[in-house]
Symmetry: C2
Subunit: 592 residues, 2 copies
């Protein structure tokens, strides 16, 4: 779309601003339809972002978007409208704020809860330098469940600075926000009489710095932390919004402000408004087959084993567990965006005799690293981490690639790490897990194929599976369905050239199958993993073979952050390239 | 000391209980004098723990100690009085709650903030099983800064169960508790008229379920989260304590309760009461030389470089930064026990142009793993992690060993990891860091020796240092002072047997010195690191040498959690054994 200048925005009438909002909505819809992306969250923040750009002066003023699911309008208003059609495409605009993309993105995000901490840093530096620009953290209500937000709020008085926190409250994170804080915010919204009544029915022009209807103690909740509370503001009324932001800007001179803005997720698009969860993220690319299998299998296990419980951190649907939650509400816990708490909760559920399954995306499990070590593994507790979206995830870019989990989990004593070759094997791993007595991590990508059913007790911990046996001097050890698919294609091409290799399903990255590795006569061992090379399967195999004279050649990702793009393209470009693996085989043949 | 039976405790008169408390205090003092340990925190919780054991029935009722710095009385009252003299000694009692040690320790701790999450897990399982015992989380006010506590509080209403949270509020964590929550708690304590007045001066027998003097909205703060607030109770008045606990126990039938108990850290021992920070931990073993150097060097750097700022998470003194905080209060931030927030704050301070130094213990940095990846390294920001207490730390056991940091940091793209050979090199690394433009981690143990001053610009990133050059076929690459000391002793013994080896200071674990490694003619490369073997220096060197025919033999820790004991003993027993390294050299010589 056309670039809308700061001048145009600042001089526009309210009705012209309304027109601009419509333009922006159309562009967001068009781009997300073409490229996929976060739809409802961005649609709900159009007026708020336009008002911010009208009232503040970016990039002189700084804004940090928590998570970043609502930054599209900001991108469109900061010189990136022309490039917006490249959203989430390789080499195109990122779907998240990114420092390297624009001066208007002062701080990159992707995971929840970081914005207030980040804003505090910028504000402190402003103070130290004697500057006077505003620093804004735009935070959704879902993030207000997260411990990081609380830690940052708690330090407002310590840091003695001034920031504007805008609470973009639509009562939802990806799905409905849960927990006590959500209840408090809801009470505040409702006291203000906004819920139930259609937007825009409040006397226009009237602005409440503090909604008189909100109980004094709720306002005090934020004031305890050193914040002046202002709200609740209708997040789709441009007049109300700009007036409130002007007020907040003035109040910032005296200290930090929390401006409570009520928005509707998906606003301006009837379908999205009615299905905000379903339209939160659009066009992720194909079904989520592993997560469906997780839901089915866990539900089946729970029917016969009363110890089975499921824990999620605000991602129940995309993890495939909606059915489980409906079937066993008393044994299913969605604790909101609280990855650490969820992990400790699992540890204690296990300590008390249950079998907790903690389903989480690979990238978000990083949040619970200490709790995996300190709570689960030090105590050797039978918690099963169901690590979804492992490996390259694609369009969300650097902050969302699930390519570190094998590396950060492998050094932890006592944990078993499994990587299924297909969904049938994933199901077998889940059934096996009930009989285990220590921590287990199963990591898998989004998409998958069903594969052949594995008989009961057909899996043994730490045992690989030989898929193709041969007298060749080369063996390929591949972890996971994606790598095995690539390996099979490589083998077909190799066969056409008269070469062959054994193919092994390295379904446990920890412990590895030392017995099988010892028995191999191959002089060249090729490993493949959908993970960074440092600290993964390849290193584990090479460690085992040290001093054996065998050559271990590993394929996986190099020591860089992988940007956004199509997963299959990124896998090929960043290290899992059939041609390179085939070339490696040719070299090994030549050396014989 | 003698075992005090549950029967004796439950039938004792108040004055007899007072006597028992004196006995317990003497035993704690004696054991800590002999074995080291946490003194003031435990002295402050004697009456509270005795009252808990009188009112509740452990181990049927469950108690989770947050951090575990106040569990000694519990150990003495649960069949472990006879063994208490073995506290923190190898093979003896742990200084922290430990499931494998006693049924009375239902959940192990060591790091802050986990107790409420853990208690919720036990309570849910109780409900699911239809049992009716009490579940208690004993939490110090310092932990109330931590995000995990907030995440757990936020999920109280989601989980619909009933736990008793005892807030042991002495206004301190290791040093004075900071932040808004600390201010709120202080206001609540003071409203109750306890502060300032000597303990015991309240009308005895009078119990306030809710202190009328506390502003309604403060009580609401906890009630928002689904808690009935009771307090403030004098934590050293046995009558008041037992009555309050009885009350709380009854109230638990209707839902979760927060009992606010005011204690004095170090109570009952005048010296500790007057110096609670200094007597928090006793007998850690020798000076903390690296941390002193950190304080000196950062202060010197900050004098000439206005960008230098320091961030800590409630450990300012033990990290050596008290002097820096006093000299540059406006550039020094202690945010409380908030390791994640501190990390994001550093990232944004760096994004805004400063040079933040985040000083933290290795084991606690695990809490900030996602923020190291997502906030610091994805954005390539120049944050310096000063990782103290790296390697085996000893007496605190499994939960505190700093033996994972090389492994979990190495897979992260863009980070530089340095391991100084002595304090002079550490100083040089800090001076070098100001000129760097990306993330840097420097890891070091507590104790150290000064060493020879390194000239300005005497360090180059990724360059090892050859300490002893020889024509031998063996080279030892050792990271850090401890390993180099062992290596030197091994070399002396080897020399006496007519063997020799080159010795290299592997002062960067990432990037490693590929140029130097390429130039080595040795057929055997021995690596040594004060870290687990999986994912550490040895793996990095072996990865480099893959396919070269060189034999890489690595010494470090195996894939187990290392229990408590003297650091030097643990290092030897768990893998850095001079005799084993010497034997490795003999084998390499024999194979020539």
């Amino acid at each position: 779309m056309r670039e809308i200048s700061d001048g145009e925005l600042k001089s526009a009438s309210l009705s012209q601003l309304k027109g601009i909002c419509s333009e922006l909505r159309e562009e967001i819809l068009a781009a997300v339809s073409a490229c996929g992306g976060h739809l409802s969250s961005n649609l709900g923040a159009v007026e708020l972002t336009v008002a911010l750009h009208r009232v503040f002066d970016f990039p002189r003023d700084k804004i940090v978007f928590d998570v970043g699911h609502q930054c599209y309008t900001h991108k469109l208003l900061s010189g990136r409208a022309g490039a917006f059609c490249t959203l989430r495409q390789e080499g195109g605009l990122s779907g998240f704020p990114k420092r390297s993309e624009s001066d208007y993105d002062c701080y990159g995000t992707g995971h929840a809860g970081t914005a207030i901490s980040a804003a505090l840093g910028f504000a402190k530096v402003r103070d130290l330098k004697g500057e006077d620009h505003a620093v804004i953290a735009l935070v959704g209500d879902g993030s207000f469940n997260n411990g990081l937000i609380y830690e940052a709020l708690n330090s407002l008085r310590i840091l003695k600075t001034s920031i504007l926190i805008i609470l973009n409250d639509n009562g939802m994170s990806i799905s409905e926000t849960v927990g006590s804080m959500a209840g408090i915010l809801k009470e505040m919204r409702e006291s203000d009489g906004l819920i139930g009544a259609p937007f825009g029915h409040r006397p226009s022009g009237e602005l409440c710095d503090r909604a008189e209807a909100i109980p004094e103690e709720d306002v005090r909740l934020f004031e305890h932390f050193g914040l002046t509370y202002m709200g609740v503001v209708n997040g789709h009324d441009m007049g109300e919004l700009t007036a409130a932001l002007e007020n907040a800007k003035r109040a910032l001179k005296k200290g930090s402000v929390l401006l409570h803005v009520h928005t509707r997720k998906g606003y301006g698009h009837p379908f999205c408004e009615n299905a905000p969860t379903e339209t939160h993220g659009v066009g992720g690319g194909g079904g989520a087959e592993y997560s469906s299998a997780l839901g089915e299998e866990l539900t089946a296990l729970a029917e016969t084993d009363g110890r089975v419980v499921a824990v999620t951190a605000a991602m129940t649907d995309s993890l495939g567990l909606r059915g489980f939650f409906e079937r066993f509400p008393e044994r299913a816990f969605d604790v909101g965006i609280c990855e650490e708490h969820a992990s400790v909760l699992c540890a204690s559920l296990a300590a008390a005799g249950m079998r907790p399954y903690y389903a989480i995306y690979s990238t978000f499990l990083q949040r619970a690293y200490d709790e995996i070590v300190h709570d689960v593994c030090v105590q050797g507790l039978p918690v099963v981490f169901c690590i979804d979206r492992a490996g390259v995830t694609g369009r969300d870019g650097e902050t969302h690639q699930g390519v570190f989990d094998l590396s950060y989990l492998t050094p932890i004593p006592g944990i078993t790490i499994a990587v299924p070759k297909d969904i049938a094997e994933f199901r077998a791993m889940l059934r096996m897990s009930v009989r285990m007595n220590g921590p287990l991590a199963i990591r898998y990508p989004r998409e998958g194929s069903e594969g052949e059913k594995i008989p009961e007790n057909g899996l043994e911990i730490g045992k690989f599976e030989v898929l193709h046996s041969t007298m060749s001097d080369i063996v390929i050890l591949a972890a996971g369905e994606r790598c095995l698919n690539i390996a099979r294609r490589v083998l077909r091409a190799a066969n056409a050239e008269g070469m062959d290799a054994a193919l092994v399903n390295a379904r446990f990255v920890k412990p590895i199958d030392e017995e099988l590795l010892s028995s191999l006569n191959a002089h060249t061992v090729i490993t493949m993993e959908d993970n960074v090379l440092i600290g993964g399967l390849g290193d584990a195999v090479a460690r085992f073979y040290r001093g054996s004279g065998k050559e271990v050649v590993s394929f996986g990702y190099p020591d860089v952050f992988i940007p956004h793009g199509a997963p299959c393209d990124l896998m090929r470009e960043y290290g899992l390239d059939e041609e390179r693996i085939l070339a490696c085989m040719r070299r090994a043949y030549a050396r014989r």
